[in-house]
């Protein structure tokens, strides 16, 4: 440390905190930053499931004001634009700094004291539960929370609210993959670390726009290709990664299971199966083999709208490779047969013996930062901590013992997030607390969601910005950002990493942990919620997970601070963690085998007809994160992608930028056309980060996968029409007395020359 810099404040500075120039070996006296007393706090990006390491730059006043790349194992200093701009939300003027309250939705919000807001919330919980039973109150958590907080959400729902209606927004993320992995392997996580991608000979990416949704993972893809690996991309759109693939299968949305069944059919007919692996390590192979027999390449070509030769080509390339890997994401998971789609990919990996080896296996590409960790410790409707089942008597007994309650007091399984909205409409759920989620933008079929929430007698939200959903609430609790608290997240590799606190929260802001503990105390169970901070919650989480498949017992804050992260299961403090599963060919089922599952393809739930002949599919853009509540406030990201668009093939005759109305059975919206050959003629695409009227989710269908209950975001029937004008993009709601929303509020850039409406024009040309 330079003699010219101020000593680090030990109350804020976590281990590993550095002086600015130490990071690059620059002589401290050459650099003004040191003279400013700047420090670098090591942490991770708050956004997607890559969990890139970064330093937050903290000034002499103890405020976060910038970002510096960090040489962490996962990302090797790389960051995407979201990660680079994330720090701007910490001290953003839109931050909520006092609880907001109103007794009815007809009133405007007013700022309230914490006492008043907490007391009012507890009175409403008691009133609703007293009149209609405990299950009339619901709780929705979020997968952007640290794992400590997701653990606490599950415990708070069951022990303090005593309701069975606990679920979370990871339900909209990767639960299909989770369900499939659990069925096939008895464990719910990716089989291989990212670093295995560098060792593979053939990489199959199914339904993932890696370049925009997981940008920093691209370095692994390109690294594999530098070594000569073949790349296969299955996606209806020619994405940046598909553009350079050896084989791009542009299949029709909603036909993935038919495609993968047909690939397996060819693998069998060409004699490319790994019979030894199948015999020693799998069950169900005979049934799978006979089912896929009817999925000939010609039949798949017909269903999927692709040449039959591509099916053969993919089968020969994947099965012919010495080591092959399959990674998939929402593109195949956001379907009414999302679990089955994932199972067909698993069948392909198992049939070719591509499991549990360096460079051979499978992975799921998580959307949210803690999409993996967020469901492991009990905020999912059917799960208890450690991935235990809430319906298993032995699992219930174990958790009740840790929580100090009677088994009879522990509620049973609840319903999923979308089903809870339907229950709100039927007044089966009358009160709700939402933590770190924004269903008004993220759930499908907006009209239904709005109607459900409007029926609520009481609604409270925890958030640090006033989201579209929070704007509908009776109480809004202002809580911390990721930079103002410590905690762990598990990334897409199931690698647990630790986020560190970089600044004190603004006055009036509390941690989610504090708020839940305060509510629990007022609900009469304060003795079960004595958690001064995340560390104490993590200690209980470790114990609650011990001995389960999701074993965190051996992971401690100290170990995480010393390492680049530890992958679970990690049963003891001297265990190195488990980056790669099944190295001995053994799965986590009692018989230690891969349970292959029979899948028959069925068409999407929203049928095509003369009025709705085309497919609508949705997805992300690189500049925005999920519902956009955070990223739609950051100037640089808004400039990069100011509004949604509709991607259309030139054969429909629209001019670039022309207003196009997209109509489904649920509603319609007008978007500027992005005319491109990069999409199938029978399909259109709209990115989903915006609220109504330009919400893709005003159009999507609320059909669910029967097992995972994930909505079918990735396909519904639609038609397109020419329109007069483009709908305005609404600004995020702001709190009382706060500045209205100018896009470039935090950005230090001057206004740019206008980009094309799609945000795809030439950027930054003077």
């Amino acid at each position: 440390m330079s003699s010219r810099s101020l000593p680090l404040d030990p109350s804020i500075a976590p281990p590993g905190t550095r002086n600015f120039r130490d990071a690059g070996g620059i002589p401290a006296d050459q650099w003004h930053a040191d003279q400013n007393g700047e420090t670098l706090v090591p942490t991770h990006c708050c956004f997607c499931g890559v969990q890139c390491g970064m330093y937050l730059r903290v000034n002499r006043a103890g405020k976060v004001f910038g970002v510096e790349p960090r040489d962490h194992d996962i990302n090797r200093m790389r960051l995407c634009p979201k990660g680079i701009n994330a720090y701007q939300q910490v001290n953003h003027p839109d931050r909520l700094t006092a609880p907001l309250m109103r007794r009815s939705r007809d009133e405007p919000f007013r700022e309230a004291s914490w006492e008043e807001a907490l007391d009012f919330t507890v009175a409403e919980i008691r009133r609703i539960q007293g009149a209609h039973g405990n299950d009339a109150f619901g709780l929705l958590g979020g997968a952007s929370l640290f794992s400590e907080k997701t653990y606490l959400v599950g415990k708070f729902g069951r022990v303090a609210l005593k309701t069975r209606h606990v679920d979370y927004n990871g339900r909209l993320c990767m639960v299909s993959a989770a369900g499939a992995n659990k069925l096939a392997f008895g464990i719910d996580r990716a089989g291989n670390p990212f670093s295995d991608i560098l060792l593979t000979d053939c990489l199959l990416i199914a339904g993932s726009n890696v370049g925009e949704c997981f940008p920093v993972m691209t370095q692994y893809l390109w690294g594999a290709r530098d070594r000569g690996a073949t790349l296969i991309v299955v996606d209806p759109r020619e994405t940046a990664v598909a553009r350079t693939a050896d084989i791009h299968v542009a299949l029709k949305p909603g036909t993935d299971a038919a495609f993968f069944n047909a690939v397996l059919n060819v693998v069998i007919s060409e004699g490319l199966t790994d019979e030894q692996f199948l015999a020693e390590h799998t069950t169900g192979w005979d049934e799978v083999r006979s089912t896929v027999a009817s999925y000939t390449p010609e039949r798949a070509a017909d269903i999927c709208g692709i040449p039959a030769s591509q099916v053969v080509q993919v089968a020969r390339t994947f099965a012919g490779a010495r080591r092959a890997m399959a990674w998939h994401a929402r593109g195949i998971e956001h379907h009414s047969q999302g679990v089955e789609n994932c199972l067909t990919v698993i069948n392909l990996c198992a049939a070719t013996g591509n499991l549990g080896k360096p460079g051979a296996g499978y992975g799921t590409i998580t959307g949210q930062g803690n999409g993996q960790g967020g469901r492991e410790h009990g905020q999912k409707a059917d799960l208890l901590p450690g991935g235990r089942s809430i319906t298993d008597p032995e699992h219930r007994r174990q958790i009740c013992e840790i929580w100090g309650i009677e088994e009879s007091e522990l509620p049973s399984a609840g319903t999923s997030m979308m089903e809870m909205v339907w229950q709100m409409q039927r007044q089966e759920i009358r009160g709700l607390i939402g933590i770190c989620n924004n269903p008004f933008v993220s759930l499908p079929n907006y009209a239904t969601v709005k109607a459900g929430y409007d029926c609520l007698e009481f609604h409270a939200q925890f958030d640090f910005f006033l989201s579209e959903t929070a704007a509908n609430a009776h109480v809004v609790f202002p809580v911390t950002t990721w930079a103002e608290d410590e905690g762990v997240m598990a990334n897409a590799e199931a690698r647990v990493v630790k986020h560190n606190k970089a600044q004190e929260p603004p006055g009036g802001v509390r941690t989610d942990t504090w708020v839940m503990c305060q509510l629990a105390q007022r609900l009469g169970v304060g003795d079960k919620f004595v958690f001064p901070g995340s560390r104490e919650v993590f200690e209980e989480l470790r114990i609650a997970s011990a001995g389960t498949v999701n074993d965190y017992y051996g992971i401690t804050y100290e170990r995480l601070e010393e390492s680049g992260g530890i992958s679970w299961p990690c049963p003891s403090t001297d265990h190195p963690g488990t980056p790669r599963l099944f190295e001995d060919g053994q799965t986590f089922h009692p018989d230690r085998k891969v349970h292959m599952q029979v899948v028959e393809w069925h068409p999407p739930m929203d049928p095509y007809d003369e009025e709705h002949p085309m497919s609508l599919t949705t997805g992300r853009t690189v500049a925005h994160f999920l519902s956009g509540n955070q990223t739609r406030r950051l100037g640089a990201l808004v400039e990069q992608t100011p509004r949604p668009w509709v991607e259309i093939h030139p054969s429909h005759g629209f001019r670039n930028g022309a207003p196009v109305r997209v109509v489904t059975r649920r509603g319609s919206g007008v978007f500027p056309a992005l005319v491109t050959e990069a999409i199938r003629p029978d399909t259109v695409f709209i990115p989903y980060h915006w609220p109504v009227p330009t919400a893709a989710n005003a159009l999507t269908i609320d059909a669910l996968d029967p097992r995972s209950k994930i909505p079918e975001y990735k396909v519904c029937a639609c038609r397109i029409e020419a329109a007069e004008r483009i709908d305005e993009v609404p600004a995020p709601p702001t709190g009382p007395g706060r500045q209205a929303y100018p896009a470039a509020q935090v950005s230090r850039t001057d206004p740019l020359p206008p980009t094309s409406p799609q945000g795809r024009g030439t950027a930054e040309r003077s």
Binding site: G24, G25, I26, P27, Q30, W31, A33, G66, V67, P69, N75, M77, R78, L79, C80, P81, G83, I84, N85, G211, E212, P215, V216, M217, T218, Q219, W222, D226, E238, T239, A240, V241, R243, T244, V622, A623, A636, Q640, P650, N656, V675, T676, E677, A678, S747, R748, T749, D750, R760, G761, T762, A763, E764, R765, S766
Partner: protein, 200 residues
């Protein structure tokens, strides 16, 4: 040929604009990005192409050559600096002279700004911000040997023709191995690959 420099590989670019955001974070022109990201084949493909200052070497940087105020300095290690704020008169001669379309004028401030290869970082051994964060390696900072160790067989060009004029640059561009005779993305025919003449 080149020492430590930026290598641009448009074949890897995913158009994420992390480089643009990172460039804004750089302390030497904080708040402004000096990177151009183009979509050369829009409507047909999602291909994207980043351009940073090419730090022309031969002839001496055209922007610096035409500057009437002598505001653009070239350092001994070949980095073409952004205009000296005390000298620049905002006349935009440099904008017109640059064959790659790099310098920008802030009309209000009457000041030219351009990429200076993050001189505040590179002078001390760090990589420029854009090449540090680029998730794909489309912008790579290092020596040709370091690049080739990571990407076996990679070919690069650092001489380009504009009509009859040949411009050699400090920043190099990756050329697809099977297409060394072709123009590089952006339409500039190349004259040299890995230091060897391929002009004719």
């Amino acid at each position: 040929m080149m020492g430590r420099t930026i290598f641009i590989d448009p074949g890897r670019c995913i158009g994420c604009q992390a480089c643009v955001s990172a460039c804004r974070e750089c302390d030497s022109h904080r708040g402004k990005s000096m990177i151009h990201l183009d979509y050369p084949d829009e409507g047909h493909s999602v291909a994207s192409l980043p351009t940073v200052c090419m730090h022309c070497e031969d002839p001496v940087a055209p922007c610096a050559e035409v500057c009437p105020a002598d505001a653009i300095l070239v350092t001994a290690d070949g980095v073409v600096q952004q205009a000296d704020t005390t000298r620049c008169i905002g006349c935009a001669n440099c904008v017109n002279a640059c064959p790659f379309g790099v310098p920008k004028i802030d009309l209000q401030a009457k000041l030219q700004m351009k990429c200076n290869l993050c001189y505040d970082r590179t002078a001390y051994g760090l990589a420029p911000m854009c090449a540090t964060v680029c998730p794909t390696g489309a912008l790579f900072y290092g020596t040709l040997e370091e690049l080739q160790a990571e990407r076996p067989g990679v070919q690069v060009a650092d001489s380009f023709t504009f009509g009859d004029v040949v411009v050699s640059t400090g920043v190099a561009m990756v050329v697809p191995a099977d297409k060394v005779q072709w123009p590089v993305p952006g339409g500039l025919p190349i004259v040299e690959v890995n230091g060897k003449d391929v002009a004719r």
